[in-house]
Symmetry: C2
Subunit: 206 residues, 2 copies
Protein backbone atom coordinates (compact mmCIF):
# COMPACT_ATOMS: atom_id res chain seq x y z
CA UNK A 1 0.00 0.00 0.00
CA UNK A 2 1.49 3.35 -1.06
CA UNK A 3 0.51 6.32 1.06
CA UNK A 4 0.43 9.92 -0.05
CA UNK A 5 1.37 11.10 3.45
CA UNK A 6 3.82 9.85 6.11
CA UNK A 7 1.49 10.97 8.90
CA UNK A 8 -1.32 8.90 7.43
CA UNK A 9 0.95 5.92 6.85
CA UNK A 10 2.12 6.01 10.44
CA UNK A 11 -1.40 6.23 11.88
CA UNK A 12 -2.56 3.33 9.69
CA UNK A 13 0.48 1.26 10.68
CA UNK A 14 -0.14 1.74 14.40
CA UNK A 15 -3.85 0.99 14.03
CA UNK A 16 -3.10 -2.19 12.09
CA UNK A 17 -1.05 -3.50 15.03
CA UNK A 18 -4.34 -4.21 16.83
CA UNK A 19 -5.50 -7.83 16.61
CA UNK A 20 -7.92 -8.58 13.78
CA UNK A 21 -7.34 -5.19 12.14
CA UNK A 22 -5.59 -5.38 8.79
CA UNK A 23 -4.14 -2.51 6.78
CA UNK A 24 -7.35 -1.89 4.85
CA UNK A 25 -9.55 -1.78 7.94
CA UNK A 26 -6.99 0.42 9.68
CA UNK A 27 -7.10 2.86 6.76
CA UNK A 28 -10.90 2.89 6.88
CA UNK A 29 -10.89 3.63 10.62
CA UNK A 30 -8.28 6.38 10.32
CA UNK A 31 -10.11 8.06 7.41
CA UNK A 32 -13.31 7.88 9.45
CA UNK A 33 -11.60 9.75 12.29
CA UNK A 34 -10.44 12.41 9.82
CA UNK A 35 -14.04 13.02 8.75
CA UNK A 36 -15.26 13.39 12.34
CA UNK A 37 -14.67 16.38 14.63
CA UNK A 38 -11.13 16.58 15.98
CA UNK A 39 -12.38 16.10 19.56
CA UNK A 40 -13.31 12.47 18.80
CA UNK A 41 -9.75 11.57 17.84
CA UNK A 42 -8.30 13.44 20.79
CA UNK A 43 -10.71 11.73 23.20
CA UNK A 44 -9.79 8.30 21.87
CA UNK A 45 -6.11 9.08 21.94
CA UNK A 46 -6.24 10.45 25.50
CA UNK A 47 -8.44 7.64 26.85
CA UNK A 48 -6.05 4.94 25.58
CA UNK A 49 -2.94 6.72 26.75
CA UNK A 50 -4.41 7.52 30.20
CA UNK A 51 -5.63 3.95 30.71
CA UNK A 52 -2.24 2.52 29.81
CA UNK A 53 -0.41 4.93 32.12
CA UNK A 54 -2.71 4.70 35.11
CA UNK A 55 -4.15 1.21 34.87
CA UNK A 56 -4.20 -0.53 38.20
CA UNK A 57 -4.91 -4.14 39.10
CA UNK A 58 -6.70 -5.16 42.29
CA UNK A 59 -4.00 -6.40 44.66
CA UNK A 60 -6.17 -9.33 45.69
CA UNK A 61 -7.93 -10.65 42.57
CA UNK A 62 -5.93 -8.92 39.77
CA UNK A 63 -9.04 -7.54 38.10
CA UNK A 64 -8.59 -4.06 36.58
CA UNK A 65 -9.59 -1.55 39.22
CA UNK A 66 -9.22 2.17 39.86
CA UNK A 67 -8.73 1.57 43.59
CA UNK A 68 -6.17 -0.68 45.28
CA UNK A 69 -8.89 -3.25 46.02
CA UNK A 70 -11.58 -3.71 43.35
CA UNK A 71 -15.23 -3.13 44.22
CA UNK A 72 -15.94 -6.85 44.39
CA UNK A 73 -13.05 -7.68 46.74
CA UNK A 74 -13.83 -4.61 48.87
CA UNK A 75 -17.56 -5.37 49.20
CA UNK A 76 -18.66 -6.74 52.60
CA UNK A 77 -21.65 -8.34 50.86
CA UNK A 78 -19.50 -10.81 48.91
CA UNK A 79 -18.71 -14.28 50.21
CA UNK A 80 -14.92 -14.34 50.69
CA UNK A 81 -14.85 -18.09 51.29
CA UNK A 82 -15.46 -18.88 47.62
CA UNK A 83 -13.08 -17.91 44.81
CA UNK A 84 -13.88 -18.31 41.14
CA UNK A 85 -10.72 -18.70 39.04
CA UNK A 86 -10.99 -17.08 35.57
CA UNK A 87 -8.67 -16.34 32.68
CA UNK A 88 -9.56 -12.79 31.90
CA UNK A 89 -11.45 -9.78 33.23
CA UNK A 90 -14.02 -10.38 30.48
CA UNK A 91 -14.95 -13.60 32.26
CA UNK A 92 -15.53 -11.67 35.49
CA UNK A 93 -17.85 -9.32 33.60
CA UNK A 94 -19.71 -12.26 32.01
CA UNK A 95 -20.26 -14.03 35.35
CA UNK A 96 -21.22 -10.79 37.13
CA UNK A 97 -23.84 -10.25 34.41
CA UNK A 98 -25.62 -13.43 35.46
CA UNK A 99 -26.14 -12.13 39.05
CA UNK A 100 -25.80 -15.80 40.15
CA UNK A 101 -22.49 -15.57 41.96
CA UNK A 102 -21.76 -13.84 45.27
CA UNK A 103 -18.18 -15.01 45.89
CA UNK A 104 -14.88 -13.42 44.87
CA UNK A 105 -12.75 -13.90 41.75
CA UNK A 106 -9.15 -14.52 40.86
CA UNK A 107 -7.99 -13.39 37.41
CA UNK A 108 -5.09 -15.51 36.11
CA UNK A 109 -4.37 -13.33 33.08
CA UNK A 110 -4.29 -16.29 30.68
CA UNK A 111 -3.84 -20.05 30.55
CA UNK A 112 -0.77 -22.27 30.67
CA UNK A 113 0.14 -22.67 27.01
CA UNK A 114 3.60 -23.95 26.06
CA UNK A 115 2.76 -23.19 22.41
CA UNK A 116 2.42 -19.48 23.20
CA UNK A 117 5.26 -19.51 25.70
CA UNK A 118 2.93 -19.03 28.68
CA UNK A 119 4.15 -20.91 31.74
CA UNK A 120 2.73 -20.91 35.28
CA UNK A 121 5.17 -18.13 36.24
CA UNK A 122 3.63 -15.80 33.62
CA UNK A 123 0.21 -16.06 35.27
CA UNK A 124 -1.14 -14.90 38.64
CA UNK A 125 -1.01 -18.46 40.00
CA UNK A 126 1.46 -18.01 42.88
CA UNK A 127 -0.61 -15.27 44.59
CA UNK A 128 -3.68 -17.52 44.33
CA UNK A 129 -1.91 -20.44 46.01
CA UNK A 130 -0.63 -18.07 48.71
CA UNK A 131 -4.10 -16.63 49.28
CA UNK A 132 -5.65 -20.09 49.61
CA UNK A 133 -2.88 -21.36 51.91
CA UNK A 134 -3.29 -18.30 54.14
CA UNK A 135 -6.74 -19.72 54.98
CA UNK A 136 -10.31 -18.47 54.95
CA UNK A 137 -11.11 -19.95 51.53
CA UNK A 138 -13.39 -23.00 51.43
CA UNK A 139 -13.96 -23.52 47.72
CA UNK A 140 -12.19 -22.82 44.45
CA UNK A 141 -14.38 -22.82 41.33
CA UNK A 142 -12.45 -23.32 38.08
CA UNK A 143 -14.15 -21.36 35.29
CA UNK A 144 -11.49 -21.56 32.57
CA UNK A 145 -12.42 -22.47 29.01
CA UNK A 146 -12.61 -26.23 28.49
CA UNK A 147 -9.66 -26.52 26.13
CA UNK A 148 -6.46 -28.48 26.55
CA UNK A 149 -4.81 -25.32 27.96
CA UNK A 150 -7.67 -24.62 30.34
CA UNK A 151 -7.65 -28.20 31.64
CA UNK A 152 -3.86 -28.10 32.07
CA UNK A 153 -4.09 -24.89 34.07
CA UNK A 154 -6.87 -26.27 36.29
CA UNK A 155 -4.84 -29.41 36.94
CA UNK A 156 -1.66 -27.45 37.70
CA UNK A 157 -3.43 -25.36 40.33
CA UNK A 158 -5.19 -28.45 41.71
CA UNK A 159 -1.82 -30.20 42.15
CA UNK A 160 -0.30 -27.17 43.87
CA UNK A 161 -3.08 -27.31 46.44
CA UNK A 162 -2.78 -31.01 47.27
CA UNK A 163 -2.94 -31.52 51.01
CA UNK A 164 -4.40 -28.06 51.67
CA UNK A 165 -7.85 -29.62 52.10
CA UNK A 166 -9.91 -27.21 50.02
CA UNK A 167 -13.01 -28.01 47.96
CA UNK A 168 -12.51 -27.55 44.22
CA UNK A 169 -15.15 -27.55 41.50
CA UNK A 170 -15.54 -26.66 37.84
CA UNK A 171 -18.49 -24.89 36.27
CA UNK A 172 -21.06 -27.27 34.75
CA UNK A 173 -20.66 -28.17 31.07
CA UNK A 174 -23.85 -29.12 29.28
CA UNK A 175 -26.42 -28.23 26.67
CA UNK A 176 -27.11 -24.49 26.51
CA UNK A 177 -30.50 -23.40 27.78
CA UNK A 178 -32.83 -23.21 24.76
CA UNK A 179 -30.64 -25.42 22.52
CA UNK A 180 -31.96 -28.45 20.65
CA UNK A 181 -30.38 -31.78 21.63
CA UNK A 182 -30.00 -32.98 18.04
CA UNK A 183 -27.57 -30.17 17.20
CA UNK A 184 -25.42 -30.52 20.33
CA UNK A 185 -21.92 -31.95 20.00
CA UNK A 186 -21.41 -35.48 21.38
CA UNK A 187 -18.88 -34.57 24.05
CA UNK A 188 -21.09 -31.91 25.58
CA UNK A 189 -24.20 -34.08 25.39
CA UNK A 190 -22.29 -36.99 26.96
CA UNK A 191 -21.10 -34.79 29.81
CA UNK A 192 -24.57 -33.38 30.38
CA UNK A 193 -25.89 -36.93 30.94
CA UNK A 194 -23.01 -38.00 33.19
CA UNK A 195 -23.37 -34.84 35.29
CA UNK A 196 -27.15 -34.82 35.40
CA UNK A 197 -28.79 -32.72 38.07
CA UNK A 198 -31.67 -33.66 40.44
CA UNK A 199 -34.92 -32.43 38.87
CA UNK A 200 -35.82 -30.44 41.99
CA UNK A 201 -32.57 -28.45 41.62
CA UNK A 202 -33.28 -27.63 37.99
CA UNK A 203 -36.77 -26.36 38.87
CA UNK A 204 -35.35 -24.07 41.52
CA UNK A 205 -32.88 -22.53 39.02
CA UNK A 206 -35.64 -21.30 36.69
CA UNK B 1 -21.72 -4.03 30.31
CA UNK B 2 -20.49 -3.23 33.81
CA UNK B 3 -16.87 -2.16 34.11
CA UNK B 4 -14.66 -2.54 37.14
CA UNK B 5 -12.79 0.66 36.26
CA UNK B 6 -13.83 4.08 34.92
CA UNK B 7 -10.57 4.40 32.97
CA UNK B 8 -11.26 1.12 31.23
CA UNK B 9 -14.88 2.01 30.57
CA UNK B 10 -13.88 5.30 29.00
CA UNK B 11 -11.23 3.73 26.74
CA UNK B 12 -13.71 1.06 25.60
CA UNK B 13 -16.38 3.70 24.96
CA UNK B 14 -14.09 5.81 22.78
CA UNK B 15 -12.84 2.76 20.88
CA UNK B 16 -16.42 1.61 20.23
CA UNK B 17 -17.17 4.94 18.49
CA UNK B 18 -15.17 3.66 15.50
CA UNK B 19 -17.30 2.22 12.67
CA UNK B 20 -17.83 -1.55 12.81
CA UNK B 21 -16.38 -1.82 16.32
CA UNK B 22 -18.91 -2.82 18.97
CA UNK B 23 -18.43 -2.76 22.74
CA UNK B 24 -17.14 -6.33 22.89
CA UNK B 25 -14.56 -5.84 20.16
CA UNK B 26 -13.53 -2.54 21.71
CA UNK B 27 -12.95 -4.30 25.05
CA UNK B 28 -10.89 -7.00 23.33
CA UNK B 29 -8.72 -4.37 21.60
CA UNK B 30 -8.20 -2.33 24.75
CA UNK B 31 -7.30 -5.41 26.82
CA UNK B 32 -4.86 -6.40 24.08
CA UNK B 33 -3.14 -3.02 24.40
CA UNK B 34 -2.87 -3.51 28.16
CA UNK B 35 -1.02 -6.77 27.62
CA UNK B 36 1.47 -5.20 25.20
CA UNK B 37 4.35 -2.85 26.11
CA UNK B 38 3.22 0.66 26.99
CA UNK B 39 5.09 2.06 23.96
CA UNK B 40 2.60 0.46 21.59
CA UNK B 41 -0.36 2.29 23.11
CA UNK B 42 1.55 5.57 23.24
CA UNK B 43 2.61 5.22 19.59
CA UNK B 44 -0.97 4.57 18.49
CA UNK B 45 -2.30 7.40 20.59
CA UNK B 46 0.33 9.88 19.32
CA UNK B 47 0.03 8.82 15.68
CA UNK B 48 -3.74 9.38 15.65
CA UNK B 49 -3.56 12.65 17.51
CA UNK B 50 -0.70 14.00 15.34
CA UNK B 51 -2.42 13.01 12.10
CA UNK B 52 -5.65 14.72 13.16
CA UNK B 53 -3.83 17.89 14.20
CA UNK B 54 -1.49 18.22 11.26
CA UNK B 55 -3.37 16.57 8.40
CA UNK B 56 -3.13 18.55 5.19
CA UNK B 57 -4.96 18.20 1.91
CA UNK B 58 -3.37 18.86 -1.47
CA UNK B 59 -4.62 22.30 -2.58
CA UNK B 60 -5.15 21.02 -6.11
CA UNK B 61 -6.57 17.47 -5.89
CA UNK B 62 -7.62 17.31 -2.18
CA UNK B 63 -5.73 14.07 -1.56
CA UNK B 64 -4.12 13.81 1.89
CA UNK B 65 -0.59 15.16 1.57
CA UNK B 66 2.21 16.32 3.85
CA UNK B 67 3.17 19.09 1.41
CA UNK B 68 0.95 21.81 -0.03
CA UNK B 69 0.82 19.99 -3.37
CA UNK B 70 0.71 16.18 -3.25
CA UNK B 71 3.44 14.15 -4.96
CA UNK B 72 1.18 13.26 -7.87
CA UNK B 73 0.09 16.85 -8.60
CA UNK B 74 3.68 18.08 -8.16
CA UNK B 75 5.23 15.47 -10.46
CA UNK B 76 6.29 16.75 -13.89
CA UNK B 77 5.93 13.18 -15.21
CA UNK B 78 2.16 13.13 -14.81
CA UNK B 79 -0.21 14.16 -17.55
CA UNK B 80 -2.00 17.26 -16.26
CA UNK B 81 -4.53 17.25 -19.12
CA UNK B 82 -6.42 14.25 -17.71
CA UNK B 83 -8.19 14.27 -14.34
CA UNK B 84 -9.69 11.19 -12.75
CA UNK B 85 -12.56 12.08 -10.39
CA UNK B 86 -12.78 9.78 -7.33
CA UNK B 87 -14.73 9.67 -4.11
CA UNK B 88 -12.02 8.95 -1.63
CA UNK B 89 -8.26 8.80 -1.21
CA UNK B 90 -8.57 5.00 -1.06
CA UNK B 91 -9.64 5.10 -4.70
CA UNK B 92 -6.50 7.06 -5.59
CA UNK B 93 -4.42 4.38 -3.86
CA UNK B 94 -6.27 1.59 -5.69
CA UNK B 95 -5.80 3.18 -9.13
CA UNK B 96 -2.15 4.05 -8.42
CA UNK B 97 -1.58 0.39 -7.54
CA UNK B 98 -2.53 -0.63 -11.08
CA UNK B 99 0.29 1.53 -12.59
CA UNK B 100 -2.06 2.05 -15.56
CA UNK B 101 -2.85 5.72 -15.09
CA UNK B 102 -0.51 8.68 -15.60
CA UNK B 103 -2.93 11.58 -15.24
CA UNK B 104 -3.96 13.54 -12.14
CA UNK B 105 -6.80 12.98 -9.66
CA UNK B 106 -9.52 14.97 -8.00
CA UNK B 107 -10.83 13.67 -4.67
CA UNK B 108 -14.45 14.70 -4.07
CA UNK B 109 -14.61 13.49 -0.48
CA UNK B 110 -17.87 11.57 -0.98
CA UNK B 111 -20.90 11.36 -3.24
CA UNK B 112 -24.06 13.44 -3.51
CA UNK B 113 -26.46 11.63 -1.18
CA UNK B 114 -29.61 13.40 0.02
CA UNK B 115 -30.25 10.45 2.38
CA UNK B 116 -27.02 11.19 4.25
CA UNK B 117 -27.41 14.95 3.94
CA UNK B 118 -24.53 15.26 1.48
CA UNK B 119 -25.18 17.95 -1.12
CA UNK B 120 -22.84 19.25 -3.87
CA UNK B 121 -21.68 22.04 -1.54
CA UNK B 122 -20.35 19.44 0.96
CA UNK B 123 -18.02 17.98 -1.66
CA UNK B 124 -14.97 19.35 -3.49
CA UNK B 125 -17.02 19.90 -6.66
CA UNK B 126 -16.71 23.69 -7.02
CA UNK B 127 -12.88 23.64 -7.10
CA UNK B 128 -13.03 20.92 -9.76
CA UNK B 129 -15.33 22.98 -12.00
CA UNK B 130 -13.08 26.01 -11.48
CA UNK B 131 -9.96 24.00 -12.33
CA UNK B 132 -11.53 22.66 -15.53
CA UNK B 133 -12.88 26.06 -16.58
CA UNK B 134 -9.43 27.62 -16.04
CA UNK B 135 -8.31 25.47 -19.00
CA UNK B 136 -5.53 22.96 -19.63
CA UNK B 137 -7.73 19.92 -18.91
CA UNK B 138 -8.82 17.79 -21.88
CA UNK B 139 -10.53 14.83 -20.26
CA UNK B 140 -12.38 14.07 -17.06
CA UNK B 141 -12.63 10.37 -16.11
CA UNK B 142 -15.44 9.58 -13.66
CA UNK B 143 -14.37 6.74 -11.39
CA UNK B 144 -17.10 6.88 -8.74
CA UNK B 145 -18.87 3.73 -7.61
CA UNK B 146 -21.74 2.77 -9.91
CA UNK B 147 -24.54 3.35 -7.43
CA UNK B 148 -27.45 5.75 -7.62
CA UNK B 149 -25.37 8.29 -5.64
CA UNK B 150 -22.31 7.83 -7.84
CA UNK B 151 -24.35 8.27 -11.01
CA UNK B 152 -26.07 11.36 -9.58
CA UNK B 153 -22.71 12.91 -8.72
CA UNK B 154 -21.29 12.16 -12.18
CA UNK B 155 -24.33 13.70 -13.80
CA UNK B 156 -24.26 16.79 -11.59
CA UNK B 157 -20.62 17.49 -12.52
CA UNK B 158 -21.35 16.72 -16.18
CA UNK B 159 -24.19 19.27 -16.18
CA UNK B 160 -22.02 21.93 -14.54
CA UNK B 161 -19.52 21.56 -17.37
CA UNK B 162 -22.01 21.88 -20.22
CA UNK B 163 -20.62 24.15 -22.91
CA UNK B 164 -17.06 23.93 -21.58
CA UNK B 165 -16.23 21.48 -24.37
CA UNK B 166 -14.31 18.89 -22.37
CA UNK B 167 -14.19 15.15 -23.00
CA UNK B 168 -15.77 13.09 -20.21
CA UNK B 169 -15.61 9.32 -19.73
CA UNK B 170 -16.38 6.73 -17.06
CA UNK B 171 -14.25 3.72 -16.20
CA UNK B 172 -15.32 0.50 -17.97
CA UNK B 173 -17.84 -1.73 -16.18
CA UNK B 174 -17.65 -5.40 -17.06
CA UNK B 175 -16.84 -8.90 -15.96
CA UNK B 176 -13.81 -9.05 -13.65
CA UNK B 177 -10.69 -10.61 -15.15
CA UNK B 178 -10.71 -14.30 -14.17
CA UNK B 179 -14.44 -14.43 -13.33
CA UNK B 180 -16.81 -17.01 -14.80
CA UNK B 181 -19.63 -15.61 -16.94
CA UNK B 182 -22.30 -17.82 -15.41
CA UNK B 183 -21.88 -16.21 -11.98
CA UNK B 184 -21.86 -12.61 -13.21
CA UNK B 185 -24.87 -10.41 -12.48
CA UNK B 186 -27.09 -9.56 -15.45
CA UNK B 187 -26.54 -5.81 -15.41
CA UNK B 188 -22.75 -6.14 -15.49
CA UNK B 189 -22.85 -8.84 -18.15
CA UNK B 190 -25.26 -6.76 -20.23
CA UNK B 191 -23.01 -3.71 -19.99
CA UNK B 192 -19.92 -5.75 -20.88
CA UNK B 193 -21.58 -6.82 -24.15
CA UNK B 194 -22.84 -3.33 -24.99
CA UNK B 195 -19.42 -1.80 -24.30
CA UNK B 196 -17.40 -4.55 -25.97
CA UNK B 197 -13.82 -3.73 -26.88
CA UNK B 198 -11.99 -4.44 -30.19
CA UNK B 199 -10.09 -7.72 -29.79
CA UNK B 200 -6.79 -6.07 -30.71
CA UNK B 201 -7.21 -3.65 -27.79
CA UNK B 202 -7.84 -6.48 -25.34
CA UNK B 203 -4.71 -8.32 -26.52
CA UNK B 204 -2.61 -5.19 -25.99
CA UNK B 205 -3.86 -4.84 -22.39
CA UNK B 206 -2.54 -8.24 -21.36
Amino acid sequence: MEFSSKLLENAVYEMSQLPGIGKRTALRLVLHLLKRPEAQTQNLSKALSKLREEVNFCTSCHNISDAELCEICASPKRDATTICVVEDIRDVMAIENTSQYRGLYHVLGGKISPMEGMGPQDLNIAPLIEKVKAGGVDELIFALSSTMEGDTTNFYIYKQLEGVGIKTSTIARGISVGDELEYADEVTLGRSILNRVPFETSIKAN
